[in-house]
Amino acid sequence: MNAILDAPARGFLACYEATKNLLPGDAGMREQAARLFRARGLPTPREEAWKYTPLRALNEFDFKTPAARAASEAISAPALAAELGPRLSFINGRAQNLSPELPNGIRLESFAERPVLGMTADGQYNFIETLNVMLAADGAVLEVTEGQDAHTLVLLHLAALAEAEAVGLHVRHRITLKRKARLTLIELATGAGRYLHNPFIEISLEEGASLQHVRLQEESAQAFHLGAVAAKIGAGARYDAFFLHLGAQLSRTELHVMLEEPSASFQFGAAQLLRSAQHGDITTEIFHRAPGCASRQTVKSVIDERARGVFQGRITVERGAQKTDGYQMNQALLLSSEAEIDSKPQLEIYADDVKCSHGATVGEIDPEQIFYLRSRGVPEAEARGILVQAFLAEALETVQAETARNMLNAAVERWWEGRAQ
């Protein structure tokens, strides 16, 4: 039985019907996703997982597949310092010249040539992934060979749209690090115009591998960003992620992390800076499935004007995952009386010898601190900027790659300077 589908759901299905014969990969799997999507449609706030993030704003749009663009149409985004490293670019959802000078030890194929689709969610309906499986047109399939340090790779998602119509960009990446391989992945999402960006990244880390994943989401002010990362971490492997989210009128990023084998580790830092009527949602789901695994999450939000931030974090410690070390902290700084943060931590623990904790703080800038700075001659707006950056500094300091850290600090400064005075 079909649910009564609203405009965006009908639009996504129309895209699917129009392009399904052209999309790469397993048609059966896509059809399965489409069936699921027809039955369930867009989640509503009545569903627990989407309680704080209404998708009403999507109703105004009917996202189309973007017209094919010439690859030669070179576009330079401001955030792109060339010194960051070799770059894989996806412009309007399509790979551009997917053959940069790659470091030794990286094998790269395009999703269009070697499509790897698959549902990672455990039999549950996951809207972001279902949409992606149904419509993913391109992506990178990347593998770092055993024991190799592939250094830094930049993954750029750029929307450069002149079309008056809103478009949907559905990309799917798979990143695999073989035994003891290492990689720093710097992911940028930016653009101009009105679009929905729906990236899905599957990550698989084999024994002893180490992935550092730094992301800057600086989408256009009219954009929607609905993305997810699904990571499986092997024995002694570590996944260190830092996400800075500044853009999009509505964004939700989900992280589904499976600590599959003993001593796997996941460190997550995130900052979301929201203003105007922006809505930003970071939702994490961490499964401790083996003994001796560690997960640490620190999510900071700076929320101004009428913006709303959401952090939902669930840690599940399965039976047998003894000596688990789980930590989760959510801190929000509210810069206006209309700003809002919704914070929902959840711990589900089925083992008896574990250390798990979570905490949340919400506050405004301390007027004593502002006065102290002003009494030393620092103008009030500058004093506030210093204190907002100080709030974020603790999180940003965890980013080890210096060029990436500088890029993030510069983005924070841009954000602060763009503030309506």
Partner: protein
């Protein structure tokens, strides 16, 4: 330099200062003494421009300008510096960065060129050395994890680097041992000269053995009830404030 006339002020609707008249000429150091609750810190905060301190009557002129019309940062630019009784912690803000930001904010507002990191560190290290302040204090976050004495020394370091025309020291001596007290006093004495004035607010006479004031004023019930030379401080140390309370009443 500083002329206070008939200054009255309230905090949360409660009247604390009840008509203060005080003139601090250029080059002079004046001490304000008084028991707890007499309005000493309120006077300091009113002069620095803290929010929530409502001036209900009177005026304050600084080098002829209406000080009360200026924002806290404008007062700093004009040359007023308050050494806080309880210096504020700024987690996430490095001390060196804080000091340089403050110095450059003042220089910028005065139309002077800003100092780069190298120029600043050279200046800051020299001042720190003079005040026996270890250099690792620059690397730490502002006042975070500082002992009481370190916080006070950090205030004096700011004083030395920012070089105001008028320093207001709000119980900078409280919680200091004798060595730290000497360092603080040396820091202030080093600035003394024809263009520098200070208002030293203290509960005890001890600090005034090291910073010899030109004048001593006794604040009681939000008013100055007595003024005199340095000998007044010693007299108070011997007899306490009790007799003065009776006299004022």
């Amino acid at each position: 330099m500083l002329e206070i006339s008939g200054l009255a002020a309230a905090v949360n609707g409660q009247q604390i200062l009840n008509g203060i008249d005080l003139v601090v000429p250029s080059g002079e150091v004046h001490a304000i003494m008084g028991p707890n609750g007499s309005g000493k810190s309120t006077l300091a905060y009113v002069l620095a421009g803290r929010e929530g301190y409502e001036v209900t009557a009177g005026s304050v002129r600084f080098e002829g300008r209406d000080l009360l019309a200026l924002s806290p940062e404008e007062r700093a630019v004009a040359g007023v510096f308050l050494a806080f009784q309880y210096p504020v912690e700024l987690p996430g803000v490095g001390n060196a960065n804080f000091l340089r930001t403050a110095l450059n904010a003042l220089r910028r507002a005065r139309g002077e060129s800003e100092l780069d990191a190298v120029q600043f560190l050279k200046l800051a290290r020299a001042e720190a050395k003079r005040l026996s302040i270890p250099e690792d204090m620059f690397k730490r976050n502002v006042n975070v994890g500082f002992s009481g004495g370190e916080k006070k020394r950090n205030e004096v370091l700011q004083l030395a680097i920012l070089r105001p025309k008028l320093a207001i020291l709000d119980e900078t001596d409280s919680g200091l041992d004798i060595d730290a007290l000497k360092i603080v006093a040396d820091g202030v004495n080093a600035l003394r000269g024809p263009d520098f004035s200070a208002l030293v607010i203290t509960h005890y006479q001890r600090l005034l053995d090291f910073i010899i004031p030109d004048r001593v004023h006794v604040l009681l019930g939000g008013r100055i009830v007595r003024s005199g030379g340095p000998e007044l401080a010693r007299e108070l140390e011997a007899s306490g404030y009790a007799g003065l309370t009776a006299e004022a009443a």
